[in-house]
């Protein structure tokens, strides 16, 4: 009857362990879990009794300086017996990371485990959800092994201390994409501002003309000059204009090799005609006309 009872319990509790009718199954009894803080008096900590082959409903908290003591007696069927494997399996429900801690087992099946935060892998220290703690009890032979949840272990951290982080393990995989950030293109100022200033710049030309007229500028000597040396003056002015014109073409479309011969020709002409024309100007000056 007892056997049948425990079989029923097991099949309800542990999905992995479906007992065959012929064999006994492993289980536990007299299980207690206690958490004591280092330095605090004996008996000051939490102590809870776990019902046989069942789980605690409330999570067990394990602080930085705490020691968790877990004792139980392994049973094959209803007889207390030494099991080859009695271990507490901690598993992070999020990542599936697992580690088990074997109990110290005596021949009469009494098993005992001490656990502190130092024993936990560093990855478990930073988990947010409580860890699932399962008991594994199994041994050689036909008896079905026991695998059932016993409690949830909440790893409590001191908020003042930094949580140790697991070092990233090198793994080959894709890396984050990198998109080059280009320097922003320089922006022209508002076109209105540019146009206003263009107008201002161009307005200086009429201002110059007006100023000259005000000061009595005239072209009265032009007929004289053309009369005394018509060709040099016309050619000199023409070559100056054409040099600037060539410069304008250079600005708009020509390249250096197109303008160099043209400028060479025009400047030779300007040099020859210029010396004549300026000779005429000198003559005017020496005559006291300038």
């Amino acid at each position: 009857m007892q056997l049948w009872h425990s079989v029923l319990q097991l099949s309800l509790l542990a999905s992995a362990a479906i007992p065959s009718a012929a064999a006994a199954t492993w289980g536990f009894t007299d299980a207690t879990v206690s958490v004591n803080t280092k330095g605090a008096g004996v008996g000051s900590g939490v102590k809870e009794t776990i019902p046989d082959n069942k789980a605690l409903s409330s999570p067990v908290a394990l602080g930085v300086a705490d020691t968790l003591k877990f004792t139980l007696t392994a049973q094959e069927g209803s007889s207390e017996k030494r099991a080859h494997q009695v271990s507490l399996l901690l598993q992070d429900p999020e990542t599936g990371l697992d580690i088990s801690y074997p109990f110290k087992v005596k021949d009469n099946g009494k098993s005992r485990l001490d656990l502190t935060q130092k024993d936990l892998p560093v990855q478990f220290l930073s988990v947010s959800e409580p860890l699932d703690a399962r008991l594994l009890i199994g041994s050689f032979g036909d008896a079905a092994a026991y695998d059932g949840a016993v409690f949830q272990l909440a790893v409590a951290r001191n908020p003042d201390e930094p949580v140790p982080k697991a070092e990233a393990v090198p793994r080959y995989g894709k890396l984050p994409e990198i998109h080059h950030i280009f320097k922003a293109d320089a922006q022209s100022p508002p076109i209105v501002v540019s146009l206003v200033f263009v107008a201002l710049v161009l307005a200086t030309l009429p201002v110059l003309g007006g100023l000259w007229l005000l000061l009595g500028a005239n072209v009265n000597h032009l007929p004289t000059a053309l009369k005394s040396a018509p060709v040099p003056h016309a050619v000199f002015l023409g070559s100056l204009l054409s040099i600037e014109g060539i410069f304008f073409l250079y600005y708009t479309s020509w390249n250096l090799f197109q303008i160099l011969p043209a400028v060479a020709v025009a400047s030779t002409v300007a040099f020859v005609s210029g010396s004549r024309a300026l000779g005429e100007v000198q003559g005017r000056r020496l005559a006291g006309l300038r």
Binding site: I18, Y101, D142, A145, Y172, P176, E177, L237
Partner: protein, 445 residues
Amino acid sequence: MAPKGSSTPCSGVTLKVRPCVAIGDAIRAHTGYLARGYDLVFESPKSDKLSLFDLGEKAYDHLLILPPRSKGFGPALSPKNIVNFINQDGNVLLALSGKSTTPSAISSLLLELDLHLATDRSSVVLDHFNYDTLSASEKHDVLLLQRPGQLRPDTKDFFGGEGVLALPRTAPHTLGDTALLTPILRAPVTAYSYNPKEDLSADDDVWATGSQLALVSAMQSRSSSRFTLLGSAESLQDQWFSATVKVPGSEQETGTANQEFAKQLTAWTFKETGVLKVGKIEHHLAQADITAEDLNPAIYRIKNETVFSIEISEYSNDKFVPFEVPANDALQLEFSMLSPFQRLKLEPSSRTENSTIYTTQFTVPDQHGIFSFRVNYKRPFLTNIEEKHEVTVRHFAHDEYPRSWKISGGWVWIAGLWSVIGGFLAFVFVWLYSEPTSAKTKKTQ
């Protein structure tokens, strides 16, 4: 040569595997899955004739090392020689057994590869939840496991499939933290390791438990040569290929998938699967008509639109097939000078009969210098691709900038320049031909 008619199939044997011919009957029980064109040479591990190298070159393509019956291996199989063999692109499948103590030479070889055995070198994995009730109802040392699935969501699955694997008397190992190592099959969380020779329960010193215990692992070196460690040599035996097994609690007896798995494992180790080949690599400016001269120029300008493409094939068993990047993974192109400036995903653009062409288009960074197109694709189970093609990135040439009148901000200064020139011409005219107003001329003279 292995002694003819040797009765134990698990005798220590090394063999040369090369495409073509024959199998010696001595360890047929161990090599049935290799009957696909390999030329097998059987050697006793202590044989004087055995040498992995011939005139400095490796004498065999692949090496299959099974646990020896004697205590250790001969000098030909020293850790140094095996590492040299791997360095010369030789592939090694090393099978251990929990039945006997692993030779210390093997242990130190594994240490070089950052694989760790239990300190006693004779541990066996036990699992009271996943064992074969037919053959190991008492000792629970024949593990029954599902075939391994995908290692990670972004890796290719070379070992998957339906069915149950039987791993008798498996010697477990753990993996060090290196990217070269990849577990193929891990123990279940309920498993633990135990040394049957010291009759102590597993409580004293915990070495590793549960899924930290690896049963089958792979190491792929930087030169893409492969080393596979199989914890259970017995699982390769013909006997286990055809065995029927039963997990505890189940009524149903099933056959094992060991043969299929052995095929997959040897195919991967001996580079029949997961081998990538790079074909054409092309880069050019993004423009419509690409002639041969436009391909792979040595110089680019900053901010050029550039297209890069790489052709990749994957060798699968007996032919090259188009390589498909696993879901969640990405083939990435880096355009880098010292550090990557662009790292972009290469997308498949077209496929040929046996290759896929991956392409991306990007803008050359606004930084001149010597850059390189890099494809550095290193993934578990796939041979490494490391391509590097250097190009020069230059500035704008002086005639590649926009002309000044196209920039509205410069109009003011253009107007300024031309009004100065206009003013100059007018001044020349005035200076030459202006008649002084009479009164002043006298005054100054």
